[in-house]
Symmetry: C2
Subunit: 213 residues, 2 copies
DNA sequence: TAGATTGTTAATCGATTAACAATC
DNA sequence: TAGATTGTTAATCGATTAACAATC
């Protein structure tokens, strides 16, 4: 069984997409097997960590052999849910919403954008990357009639809390938040923040602290 | 002195922008003083962690009183380098580059976008959000004549390593990478990755693992 | 002064690394 | 079989939390 009731730490979970990427690249290069040591050298982590991480989910390797790349990739895909699809809607078709609607990598990773919502009249009824743009008034109806797993929040700062609450109330399971604020909802809604400015500030800090040395 | 040679852990550094945001909001609300306990309740962390974090950089509080909000905000701004400005260029004016060029929050946090580079002839010479779009051929000259602290990499996957290397060689101090790959440069260049798809996959994992319970 | 809250040391917890028996 | 490498336990390291003396 791939996922028991034992709690996996978020530190491990956040490393999974990285394994996914490296294994995908190895597959592309035609590599069929790899040991934790070889992978650790490529990734710049310890072989110990790789084995510990993978064994949170099951014994995917074989003593004396290592890991079969295709098999390990499949297992990690399954853990990350990429074996099924996630239905995603975008709320807010500003510059960021536009960029996300056109980002092709999401589909490859198992995420299908099935609708975009905004309030600007001139946008309603158009399509972006073949995705229909609807009015926010149609949101509730749409979520009731379609399985919506994830809502991408790319709306102005001030509107974020109210729309997040609305999506949570509608039963959307996850929110991907691009506003520079931390969301807390009283629903069973998972939240993942992007916080671009925070990331840029961390880069600024790194640069400054290197200068001082 | 605000920053000694003692090494601050990245875990602490990544929390700084969050303190910055909360203190900014408190300032806006007219709050003049706050204790670590009050702030801890707002932020959902322990008061101990807040005091530990802040004391990595100096004693900004006062026994029996707490912290002066304006003063603490100023100190954290200084630590994050927001008291001076960072000059930033965007490489790649696709959908993401466009979104970033128009994102107003960066300026507020101390980052000025001073140029955009692309190769599409129809874009060269235009402006986006008052920022001049130049050809990649002009990049080296531009970097030599202007202080460029940070390069934002929003170019196609395949071109990322070569352009990253070129910026590193030109002495750009930090790269903000939007491609789903890990960069490693032989220069003194700090790198901060955004990895949007990774973040979305973590959200997918959270949703799935909650379902299984 | 008495009360409150910091700065800081000590204790705890969790995550990473090392080591090695199991086994392919 | 002998060599290699995993899965897993034990040791270490670092980060978080608790406690409290210092002090405003």
């Amino acid at each position: 069984m791939s996922n028991d009731n034992k709690k996996i730490s978020l530190a491990v979970v956040r490393r999974l997409p990285r394994y996914y990427r490296y294994l995908y690249d190895l597959l592309q290069s035609g590599v069929t097997r790899i040991s934790s040591r070889e992978l650790s050298e490529k990734m710049g982590v310890t072989a110990s960590q790789i084995r510990q991480d993978l064994n949170c989910f099951g014994g995917f390797g074989q003593q004396g052999y290592g890991y079969n790349v295709q098999n390990l990739f499949n297992e990690i895909s399954k853990i990350l849910g990429t074996d099924h699809r996630f239905n995603v809607i975008i709320i807010g078709l500003g510059n960021m919403g536009h960029a996300l609607a056109n980002y092709e990598n999401f589909k490859k990773r198992g995420f299908d954008i099935i609708g975009i919502f905004d309030i600007k009249p001139e946008l309603i009824g158009t399509t972006v990357n073949n995705i229909k743009v609807m009015h926010m008034d149609e949101l509730d109806e749409f979520v009731k009639n379609n399985r919506v797993d994830i809502g991408i929040l790319s709306v102005p700062y001030g509107q974020t809390p109210a729309i997040a609450d609305r999506l949570g109330r509608l039963g959307v399971k996850g929110l991907w938040n691009f506003s520079p604020m931390d969301l807390k909802l009283p629903y069973d809604t998972e939240i993942e923040n992007v916080h671009l400015s925070d990331s840029l500030m961390v880069l600024g800090y790194k640069i400054d602290s290197k200068m001082k040395k």
